[in-house]
């Protein structure tokens, strides 16, 4: 399957430009909103507000044929209404054209047998997502698996990863989304990062958000020197600088996400320990929060000063400030 997104936008997803072929991908973002929107448009839950989403040339939101090839896990899930979870799963399988009597086995495989007899309305969102994930992972005819946070359900992570490996091996396009870098590393595949609501797939890594200290990462590792040597051979053109302390290292790259991904990959590959990774320049959000905290602190300090001052002096000024 070929998945094409052309300036696709929905909600907090401000624009996605992708052209994906079968393989394993993981989309990472610090915000949940763009990821939920990405899964929604790719699975045909909603059409994009702007732009296009095409699965083999068909829009999934308008084409049942395209949706038949998709297995999805959304942020918020709902099962087909039924008396029991088992009956709901059987209905979902029936809608897919699969035999409903495999529902019991499907739940057993995902270690969810204890939920089978419950009413779907009695399930919490985590349980419902677990059932939906089991359904998605069991869709052997799916050519696209698009799963939001697949490691945060009740389904054992080992089972999820094994099924994802199997789907990838049979030639499906497996795309997972997560806000956790740890989960992204475990899920594996090519990383795609959402920045400010925009998702763009690039063959080559290019500097983003300006070069210089913005793209530097501070690393703390007892193997700093070895790590620096290994990173010099990186395909992404990373440069390293050992710090004053023997365990500190400064790494510069084309983009923070690429640098961190490469760092983790190299460390894993050579079994090196990384104690801490942080951006050399704090993100804008952190600066804004710090500025807000400073302003608040200054304001409270000034109020405290006024309150403790004599009544005829600054205290009167406080009253004047407070008067609209």
């Amino acid at each position: 399957m070929r998945v094409q997104l052309r300036a696709a936008a929905l909600g907090q997803l401000r624009g996605a430009e992708l052209d994906l072929t079968p393989g394993r991908y993981v989309v990472l973002s610090s915000e949940r909103g763009p990821l939920c929107s990405l899964v929604a448009v790719m699975a045909g839950r909603e059409p994009p507000r702007h732009g296009q989403v095409l699965l083999d040339g068909m829009a999934p939101a308008a084409s049942p044929e395209a949706r038949r090839k998709v297995a999805a896990l959304f942020d918020e899930e709902a099962l087909p209404p039924a008396k029991t979870v088992l009956a709901g799963v059987a209905k979902a399988l029936g809608a897919r054209g699969a035999a409903g009597n495999t529902a019991t086995q499907l739940l057993a495989d995902a270690d969810l047998t204890e939920l089978a007899g419950l009413a779907p309305s009695a399930l919490g969102q985590r349980e419902t997502r677990s059932i939906a994930l089991a359904l998605a992972l069991a869709h052997d005819a799916a050519e696209l698996l698009v799963l939001h946070e697949p490691l945060t359900t009740l389904v054992p992570a080992a089972f999820v990863l094994a099924r994802l490996d199997a789907h990838t091996a049979r030639g499906a396009l497996v795309l997972t989304t997560t806000t956790s870098t740890a989960d992204a590393t475990v899920l594996g595949g090519r990383w795609l990062c959402v920045e400010l609501g925009r998702l763009r797939e690039g063959e080559t890594t290019t500097p983003r958000l300006g070069a210089g200290p913005w793209q530097q990462v501070l690393v703390e590792s007892k193997d700093a020197r070895a790590l620096a040597q290994l990173l010099l051979d990186s395909a992404h053109g990373l440069s390293t600088e050992l710090g004053a302390a023997s365990d500190s290292l400064k790494v510069s790259g084309p983009a923070l996400d690429v640098t961190v991904q490469e760092l983790i990959a190299v460390a894993r590959q050579h079994d090196l320990e990384i104690r801490r990774i942080e951006a050399a320049v704090p993100p804008v959000e952190a600066l804004l929060a710090a500025r807000a905290g400073f302003a608040r602190g200054a304001y409270e300090a000034s109020r405290a000063g006024f309150a403790s001052a004599p009544a005829h002096g600054p205290a009167r000024a406080t009253g004047e400030v407070g008067t609209p």
Binding site: V70, A78, P80, P81, A82, G94, A95
Partner: protein, 227 residues
């Protein structure tokens, strides 16, 4: 296949105690209005009770409740998602989703209007049979018409608020008889019951307008919802 799945989806969602409670409340309201109208004066009591309490208030609100239930309180797109995501056609699912609600609305409207006529006319009234038959067929038509319009309207708004807008517009604009009242069911139902005609339409014209506008709402909804 998808139509049958849609019917099944709606049946499961309507199979709740809340549906019975809503029907009971609506029927009690209609009968209460009928008793009050009868106490006010036997002359014209059936007309006032039918066009006021029964078809004017209780039926639109009951249909609103039914459509809200079959849509699971969400938009039409989300209502059919549990099956549409697996490759079922949304338009066929929508048709299937509407059928049980439309049948229930028709049955309720027919039964409740018959009860209202019985209360307001009394068993000995010679006009009872004629009024009962007339109100039954108007109920059988107007219930599904409201359901069709509300299902279509549910495709609008993030959480299907379109159906609330439709009910509000039906109450506010449908109460008149100008062209502003034309798209909404209330004015045409009132015409069928012998009340003021919207745009001076005949009763046949009102029937066609009622069915036409309701189906147009549904068609617009399915068009927006895509396949």
């Amino acid at each position: 296949m998808s139509v049958r799945a849609g019917i099944d989806l709606a049946r499961e969602r309507l199979r709740q105690r809340a549906t019975l409670v809503a029907a009971g409340l609506a029927l009690s309201f209609e009968l209460g209005v009928a008793v009050l109208e009868r106490a006010r004066g036997a002359l014209g009591a059936a007309d006032r009770a039918l066009s006021g309490g029964a078809f004017g208030v209780a039926l639109p609100l009951f249909c609103y409740f039914l459509v809200g239930r079959v849509c699971n309180g969400a938009s039409l797109r989300e209502a059919v998602l549990p099956l549409a995501r697996h490759g079922m056609d949304r338009r066929e699912l929508t048709l299937g989703l509407s059928l049980p609600a439309a049948l229930l609305a028709a049955g309720f409207a027919a039964f409740s209007s018959l009860a209202v006529v019985l209360v307001t006319r009394g068993l000995g009234d010679p006009a009872l049979a004629g009024d009962a038959l007339t109100s039954i067929w108007i109920g059988v038509v107007s219930g599904p018409a409201y359901v069709a319009a509300l299902v279509g309207a549910s495709a609008y708004g993030r959480r299907g608020q379109g159906r609330s807008w439709l009910v509000a517009a039906d109450f506010l604009l449908g109460a008149g008889d100008s062209f502003l009242a034309f798209p909404w069911p209330k004015g045409h139902v009132r015409n069928l019951l012998g009340g003021t005609a919207v745009l001076e339409l005949s009763q046949l014209g009102a029937l066609l307008a009622l069915l036409g506008t309701s189906l147009a709402f549904m068609w617009l909804g399915t068009l927006r919802n895509q396949r």
